[in-house]
Amino acid sequence: MNADSQTLMQTVNFVYIISSILFVIGIKMLGKADTARKGNIISAVGMLIAVVATLFDRQILKAAEPMSWALLVGALAVGSIVGYLVAKKVKMTSMPEMVALLNGFGGLASLLVGWADFYYRGMTSSISNMVSGGLPTFTLVATILAVLIGGVTFTGSVYAWGKLSGKISGRAQVFKGQKIVNAVIALASLAFSVSFCVVGDPQTAHLCLIASIILSFVLGFAAVMPIGGGDMPVVISLLNSLSGLAASAAGFVIENNVLIVAGCLVGASGVILTVIMCKSMNRTLSNVLFSGFGAAGGAKGGKVAGEMKPMSVDDAYYVLEAAQNVVFIPGYGMAVAQAQHAVKELATILENNGAEVSFAIHPVAGRMPGHMNVLLAEADVPYEQLKEMDEANRILETADVAVVIGANDVVNPAAAEDKGSPIYGMPIIEAYKAKTVLALKRGKGAGFSGLENALFFRPNTRMVYGDAKATLNELVSKFKQ
């Protein structure tokens, strides 16, 4: 290596340090409301300069011929255009599945980087008489980790995307002996991984790698399959963490600092976020991942006494018209019905009518933490009206009306009272404390988790059936008359 290329390499690595600093600052700022947007831009700048610096990487300059530049620029252009378009086109309500899908792409990319590196260095290297083409065991271990984690992240994310977007059933899919099957798959992939690292012969190692890739894909599906749609936020958060670790492992493969640091930052912060989310449901991570919670035919909790009492929109109007203190409790149903703007309109009218209005946000309402906040922000609901769970429960004690819009498990009193219920112990928004509960619901079916909601059978609850958005619009027009 001559002096010039050494200086260049040092410069590239120096830029990587700056990138890493920008990522750290970016994540830090993303955690505070008033700096979040700037933080995202700072982290994007870090990404941009890392990509630009990489173009001056020794290996890329070495390959500086028209053909490979065309490939690089072409691939970057295609990826940028597709990424930009999906980001602009996606509806705010489908944001969670979008994040899941993007996350899957990142995982698959890390897998492919590991595979490409092994295929190139391990299979075609001139020193292939050494262990697996002369690659040190450390690199092989990093490669197999990037491949396994990346593969699990990919299919797990795609499955989560399918569940969230309704392309496949949101229910947990469980069958007899599932845990054993999953354990066998995991052990088999472990066996192939170990063989990959120790087998020596590059051709055999490559076959082991391919077997590991296939098994990691199966494992990703199999691991997410028994998890109910209601727990998808936790799963996506965990998969997000995994995709960071996959990138980090890929960084060990190509011995690149910025991949290791950035991937690890994401991996660690994803774990913290996952734990926070599990805590807000009062469950442990292993309970979420392995309990098959909400499966068809699974535990249903105690029988719910009483009956659901329907109420017409006309009567709901009179109830709201007389109310002094109204609390809206949004859930995923609001997102599905795209009802956030209608909710905001009704809230404004109620305020002008002299009522006190607030929104009770359960930490896991919707499909991701903060999902409801994003939607309500889109509809211009003032920040001060959004109440977190503890404060919301204090307000509910004196509230005249609680309007439950497509929320289910997060207002189910069984979580507090029914020891047999699978969601027993989960903190809830205590909607039942309000004098009257209006539950806007599409039909009589059970919620996303598959549980009957005891709230709907309470004497002070009235069901207003129909599409939430249509119901809300009807209420708005009645107020306007």
């Binding site: 982290s43 990404m47 970057l76 295609v78 930009y84 960071g244 930052l265």
Partner: protein, 95 residues
Amino acid sequence: MDIILLLFIFTLAAFLGFELISKVPSQLHTPLMSGSNAISGITIVGALIATAGTKDCTFATVLGVVALVLACINVVGGYFVTDRMLAMFKKKGGK
């Protein structure tokens, strides 16, 4: 590069990551997840190297190009999606 050095920075980065987001208001969890998801697209750097560094090996190059496109979608899509979400909070904060 020294393996120990690489593991060393990995370990420090892990602890830094744990500390960074220990106290985040819940409404920022989704943008934070989305924003850090974009950062995990850093594997785009690996994809660039894998694409350009394997020019005489078609199969590896193809893997690299696919990785590059996917990582690029993850990065660009991730940042724009996050920005869209945060832009809404901004509007609200201005009230």
